[in-house]
């Protein structure tokens, strides 16, 4: 089976956000594999182990993305592809990302593509469905279980907490939700092996694209931090006094009751 994972690197979830020159400051920030993409990698490896085939992890990023790709290889993916746009593209959005991925997949035989539900930084959740639409394959978003039997695929889909039992077929794109699996940690032998696994680096030129082909349709004009919250009020006294005061504050000051 030809299994592909779409992976984005994101800020570590512990990272504080700072703005510098109107942009999010990435200097010194720790990057990780987008947590939802970890579920995708784990699931891809499981599917391969059960049905055979090959897992290829694809990312659009920069030189530093190699680190997350190596981690994916150490987890057990077979091949990695870095589409490095650092020198070619200044501004982009989900249209840009999808156009590049579409070009990459144009000549590929695909059985299954796994993406994350959202990337936790920009979190639009657009890339998976947009790509599936371009490749004209069905997709199911926010999956929490995946079972493949021949060409038939049985899926549990999370719908705001409800579960839909979905049936569909390959080729297919899914986006992975928390609860799908427990991503493994790379093992030491895995890390050693990863160093020798193939990591292909491409530029948009290799995909017959130039900057104009991937022009964004939206633009970010400002980035800002939420207003600092003033320290809240910690209520004093015995429980029943605290409770009475809280209710009175919620009624008169906060006006939410």
């Amino acid at each position: 089976m030809n299994i592909y994972v779409l992976m984005k690197k994101t800020f570590d979830t512990e990272e504080k956000i700072q703005i510098n020159g109107g942009k999010i400051d990435t200097d010194g920030a720790e990057f990780i594999i987008n947590p939802y993409d970890e579920y995708a990698i784990e699931e891809a490896i499981k599917v391969r182990d059960e049905h055979g085939g090959e897992v290829t992890v694809v990312t659009i990023g920069d030189e530093d993305s190699e680190s997350q790709l190596r981690t994916a290889l150490a987890m057990g993916a077979d091949k990695a592809v870095l589409i490095n746009t650092e020198d070619d593209i200044e501004e982009g959005d989900q249209v840009t990302t999808t156009r590049i991925l579409e070009a990459y997949f144009e000549d590929k035989e695909v059985d299954l593509i796994l993406a994350g539900n959202v990337a936790i930084d920009e979190a639009s959740g657009q890339v998976g469905p947009r790509l599936a639409a371009k490749l004209d394959i069905p997709y199911v978003t926010t999956i929490t279980s995946l079972e493949i039997d021949g060409d038939t695929v049985k899926i549990d889909k999370d719908v705001e907490g409800d579960v839909e039992k979905v049936e569909t077929s390959l080729p297919l794109l899914v986006t992975c939700q928390q609860g799908l699996n427990e991503p493994r940690y790379p093992s030491l032998p895995g890390i050693m092996k990863a160093k020798k696994k193939p990591l292909e680096e491409l530029e948009i030129d290799d995909l017959d694209l130039d900057e104009d082909d991937v022009e964004a349709a939206t633009e970010t004009v400002e980035v800002f931090l939420p207003p600092e919250k003033e320290a809240g009020k910690v209520l004093e006294g015995e429980t029943d006094e605290q409770v009475k005061e809280l209710i009175s504050l919620l009624k008169t000051e906060a006006k939410v009751l």
Partner: protein, 323 residues
């Protein structure tokens, strides 16, 4: 004069709130525009069309088909594209819900259009309109504009207030015939877990429990409090991981993002990943026995104490208040 299409959402035969918020959003983008509300589904949709008009739409179009009974991307995209082709709107607004998140990128892809997802605020209007959305799980915000194609956005539920309902408003509700076929994904069954009671993402009041609740039964007092408040119960991942509640209740970076008017965090320490899902709530109350807990740094009001004393006392007091 521009034209905006708002794509509504139906659950259990009723319009979800965000459908009304869509209309308000479209009006905010362009006050003088014509707002056309679309309803896709099965059953009697015409009355829903009228309701949307009472909430400020100028007219409504409905696509009714048995293959639209359950939401599927293949089915709904056929219906939505038929309406979009008929109306050729300048802009489209949908809810950033499970359904909207699934459908909007596909429509955008078909239209080769930009899409600004998960908008929480609209600034300015007309040609100067900018859309504000949280990024990095609410740790920052970005202001975006559309530079090419339709003004296409999805809005986060509970952030843009709907217009006042006006029962005297009426307008045209038109049926659009679409033969919805060739669904490549089929919904075999829907298992309801979350939607009993109040919907978490649309709830005005949320009582959320953490590991401090200590057991599944420990959630009972929280349910009682939520009940008297007319709210919903949520949870931290700590509580979900410990098996005290279902993952469907989880709020945070890898769970739901909520913005209720009132968020009561009970026995939750306030990890950054939890804050990511609730820090934009309008008023936050923290109940925790540890005065140093990080949750107090984002709370408007805090009670340091044992949740098993405080929560039942709150419930009683509110019951007394409501008579």
């Amino acid at each position: 004069m521009g034209k905006y299409l708002v794509i509504s959402e139906v659950r259990d035969g009723e319009l979800r709130n965000v459908s009304f918020e869509n209309i308000a959003a479209a009006r905010q983008i362009d006050e003088n525009s014509e707002v056309v509300a679309a309803v896709l589904g099965d059953g009697d949709l015409e009355s829903l069309g009228q309701e949307l008009i009472q909430y400020g739409a100028d007219r409504a179009v409905v696509v009714q088909h048995e293959n639209l009974k359950n939401y599927t991307s293949d089915g709904y995209v056929q219906a939505a594209m038929a309406v979009i082709e008929q109306e050729d709107p300048d802009g489209i607004v949908m809810g950033h819900t499970s359904e909207g998140k699934d459908l909007s990128p596909r429509i955008a892809s078909k239209l080769d259009s930009g899409l600004i997802s998960d908008v929480t605020e609209i600034e300015g209007s007309g040609d100067d309109v900018k859309f504000i959305r949280p990024i990095y799980s609410g740790k920052a915000f970005e202001k975006k504009v559309i530079t090419n194609g339709k003004t296409f956005i999805t809005i986060r539920p509970n952030n843009i207030a709907p217009l006042e309902k006006d029962e005297s408003r009426s307008g045209d509700v038109q049926k659009v015939e679409v033969d919805v076929q060739n669904l490549r994904t089929v919904i075999k069954e829907v298992i309801r877990k979350a939607s009993e009671g109040v919907d978490l993402s649309e709830a005005n009041i949320i009582v959320a429990g953490g590991r401090g609740v200590k057991s599944a039964e420990g959630f009972d007092p929280l349910y009682e409090l939520a009940d008297v408040l007319g709210g919903a119960v949520g949870a931290s991942r700590g509580a979900a991981d410990a098996g005290y509640c279902d993952y469907s209740l989880q709020i945070g970076q890898t769970g739901k993002v909520v913005t209720p008017d009132l968020y009561i965090a009970v026995g939750i320490s306030g990890a950054i990943q939890h804050l990511a899902g609730m820090s934009n709530s309008k008023v936050i109350v923290a109940i925790n026995k540890d005065p140093e807990a990080n949750i107090f740094n984002v709370a408007d009001y805090g009670i340091v104490g044992d949740l098993f004393d405080v929560v039942p006392a709150l419930t009683e007091e509110i019951k007394a208040l409501k008579g």
